[in-house]
Amino acid sequence: MLGRDKALEILGTAIAYSQAEMTQVAVEIGESSLTRFANSVIHQNVSERNAGLGVKAVIGKRIGFATTNRLDEDSIKTVVDKAVSFAKHSEDNPDFVSLPTPKPVMQIETYDERTATYSPEDRAAVVAGMIAEARKHGASAAGSLSNGYEEFAVANSLGVAAYNVFSLAGLTTVMTADSGFGYADRISTSIRDFDPIEAAVEAAARSVQSRNPEAIEPGEYDVVLLPYAVAELVEFLSYLGLGALAVQEGRSFMCGKVGQKIAGENVTIWDDGLDPRGLPRSFDPEGVPKQRVDMIVNGVANAVVYDTYTAYKEGKESTGHGIGGIGTHGPFPTNMFMQPGDSSVEEMIASTKKGILVTRFHYTNAIHPILTVITGMTRDGTFLIESGKITKPLKNLRFTDSVLERLSNVELISKETRRQAWAVVPAIKARGFRFTGATEF
């Protein structure tokens, strides 16, 4: 591990060498490993040690960017020269004002030694346990177990200097029992935060429960969406329009809607980079501290997130939601929370006369950003609910629906939430979900 001092020293060397008027340098270095299994066998098992150094050089209003994965002094000089040369040969970007100025960054705990150093033998033992659990249920196991760490440091010539080290562990599993499928995933900064066997039991039990699915006519149904599915809806909101750039370009559903109702009163969604219930980060890739942003409050559009570029454009301050120095995608919220309610999945099922329970979605894609219309398939456990009970598994269905329209029709929200990669969300029961097609399994 480099450590804070060495990381900031590398950045300082690059900044001191740069001939640009303003320079931002970020370095990331880490190790990650992933054990993958399918058909109840470990079939892929990988590990990598990698690094990245990114330099943003600013001359007037011209910007150049260059990256390398070599951290020796010559390579650092070469990449700085390249960024400066690109800046010199670029054209003015009139909207650019400045790189961020320094602000205090809160230190938060995001590193767990055990997670960073979990060995191939540790992972194999966990996977063996999950496969054994699958066998007990008569199921076949597939999935992956990953662990690793990353040090990230960013500094700029205006005095920003921030460092943090993160560990991350992830588990996904799809279990198959004849024609039935089940799913579970877990993610955390610490591998000790989740129980892989509990995840295996969840997926295996659902695979058994979803055997011999029957077809159902697509149409509008009340749905109970498990958190895996709800996270997908919330993440699409983020992608489609909860960043300032999407608003500034007029392609967000938030355009002209701030202060207006866009979802049901029971729907509140915010982003809080510091909240350890998600995957916390104390600062963004520009070194700007994370601010909490309440994006949708009691169904009312309230705010979007900013990086330095979009914030200066409106005379505001960045909320610490930059996603890196390159690209034209703009800021995104990445540690979102949806307000839980007081219900449970069991209550949702019990209160449903006729509806469909969806475990998760697959291959979801946006069709219309302002109407928040997306399409995708159900996967790994779709069930018919009749008269308050799950009566049979269903073959998978295609949905084409508006996220905000569905979030305007939420009847029940669970008390329990689940951490997903970008969001911590409850299960919900919503009216009138639009299924528009069906497949054969």
Binding site: Q44, S47, R251
Partner: protein, 488 residues
């Protein structure tokens, strides 16, 4: 490099691995992005490292590192073998590989104009000119144009005696105009959506597309779409333009023929496939005129190479012949299970990823029509252009795609423009209803640089040679939502 590869292979042999290979990959890229008159991205990237893949105790292990020194090569070789032995802790059948002849040599694709030698100012000027033209149309709120270039140098060496060096240069560019008015956003792109078109080629490929000459047209089309009616919902004849058909081939043919998916090894992420081995040789995938091959030797194709990342020579493999499903994309491991030799489709996204079965160039044979003839021959249909969005189930059966624009076809002529077109179907039914394919003159190799697969994720560059084609009885316009209905 040979001393590093030798050290790695010697180490894995010493540690008792039954097979080992090392890939050293050096990749440079350059990206220029212009948005609304501003240079928003001018990015140079370079990346270098090595990965060692072994079989020990009958299981796979892989480890990689950016540090190109002998001590690190030794550490990584040891780690790869240790990982393989950890994999073997779980009960398994030993991995067996189909044979391949050891290969030697140095190979490079020729390009006319090295894109890395073209001054960056020239690239910026071309994009700014196209950008300026798009923004002359008042409704265009976001004009984007970009170019992307890659050079990848790979060394592959194996314990079976191969030592192969390959160099590949890729280029691509595109423009996109987004028109906005209250409550509506519409986009048109050129030459295809999501960044344009790409090829194994030099800067000449970018110049040939004439981005400037097409900027005004797509801007005006995007503006016109704002007031176009919603695509109706019904079942009719559908004619797809080439870049949209390329995606159709990609999603509904390219992915389900990956034999690792078929064997379930991608089950937890991308999914599996409906094209199970029992269907081989007799399953009707399409109509008689549908023939598709995986061709890693196709000139200019983004999925072309000399050898795959297992050292298997590039080849052309029949996938669909006269409508019948006849072949898969294979690796040495999956081919062995079928009693075959590998067709050479193992590709890795850089030094720090293992090779997976990936598409090469999945090409639809041309027919004997022209697009104009197809339209003239259609009584009631829809002509749809350019990818809007895509979604398909995890066995690759039920798909729904959106296009940027569509036009009514009535009595052989193009008519009303529609916004938000979508079409949906079941893969083999859709291809079974293909009744016309345009000829060789309209056939083009489209480059897709962002095909995702695997854990950790890998983005692959693949190609699709297609000509426009016609399909009967397609369900279109399924995205209408109640709120849209209210505005119509």
């Amino acid at each position: 490099m040979e001393d590093l590869t030798e050290k790695a292979l010697e180490k894995v042999r010493d540690l008792g691995a039954s097979y080992g290979d090392i890939r050293i990959v050096k990749r440079a890229s350059e990206r220029v992005e212009v948005k609304n008159g501003k240079v928003e991205g001018l990015v140079s990237q370079s990346d270098e490292g090595f990965g060692i893949r072994v079989i020990a105790d009958g299981s796979w292990g892989f480890a990689s590192s950016l540090m190109m020194d002998p001590d690190e090569v030794e550490r990584v070789a040891e780690l790869a073998v240790r990982i393989a032995r950890a994999s073997a802790q779980v009960e398994h059948d030993p991995v067996r590989l189909a044979p391949v002849e050891p290969a030697h040599g140095s190979f490079e694709f020729d390009v006319q104009q090295d894109p890395f030698e073209i001054p960056v100012e020239d690239k910026i000027r071309l994009l700014l000119d196209a950008d300026g033209i798009m923004r002359q149309t008042p409704e265009i709120k976001v004009a984007e144009s970009s170019m992307h270039f890659w050079r990848t140098e790979t060394v592959f060496a194996s314990t079976e005696g191969s030592y192969i060096e390959q160099t590949k240069t890729e280029s691509g560019a595109g423009i996109e105009a987004t028109a906005v008015k209250e409550g509506e956003v519409q986009r048109r792109s050129y030459p295809s959506s999501f960044g344009g078109d790409y090829a194994v080629a030099g800067y000449e490929f970018v110049e040939a597309w004439d981005l400037i000459g097409n900027a005004e047209r797509i801007a005006k089309e995007a503006a016109k779409l704002l007031d176009a009616p919603q695509c109706p919902s019904d079942t009719r004849t559908l004619i797809l333009e080439g870049s949209m058909l390329a995606l159709q081939v990609h999603e509904s043919c390219g992915h389900p023929i990956e034999l690792d998916r078929v064997f379930g090894t991608e089950a937890s992420y991308a999914g599996t496939s409906f094209l199970t081995p029992d269907k081989l040789g007799h399953f009707r995938y399409g109509s008689d005129i549908v023939s598709i091959a995986a061709d890693a030797t196709a000139p200019g194709g983004l999925g072309s190479f000399f050898f795959d990342d297992e050292g298997v020579p590039a080849s052309r493999v029949d996938i669909i012949k006269d409508g019948i499903f006849v072949g898969y994309l294979t690796s040495r491991e999956t081919a062995e299970k079928m009693g075959w030799r590998s067709g050479g489709a193992m590709r890795a996204d850089g030094w720090n990823r293992i090779p997976l079965i990936r598409m090469t160039n999945i090409n639809l044979d041309p027919g004997d029509w022209t697009l104009d003839e197809m339209i003239e021959d259609t009584k009631h249909g829809l002509y749809a252009e350019m990818v809007g969005s895509w979604s398909i189930d995890d066995k690759r059966l039920n798909f729904q795609f959106a296009t940027e624009v569509a036009y009514d076809i009535e009595d052989g002529s193009l008519g009303q423009m529609y916004k938000n077109p979508t079409y949906t179907g079941i893969t083999y039914e859709f291809w079974g209803n293909c009744d016309a394919i345009a000829n060789r003159d309209e056939w083009h190799m489209w480059g897709v640089p962002n095909c995702g697969k695997g854990e950790p994720g890998q983005a692959m560059h693949v190609g699709h040679g297609v000509a426009p084609a016609r399909f009967q009885n397609v369900r279109i316009g399924v995205m209408e939502s109640p709120s849209e209905g209210e505005t119509e």
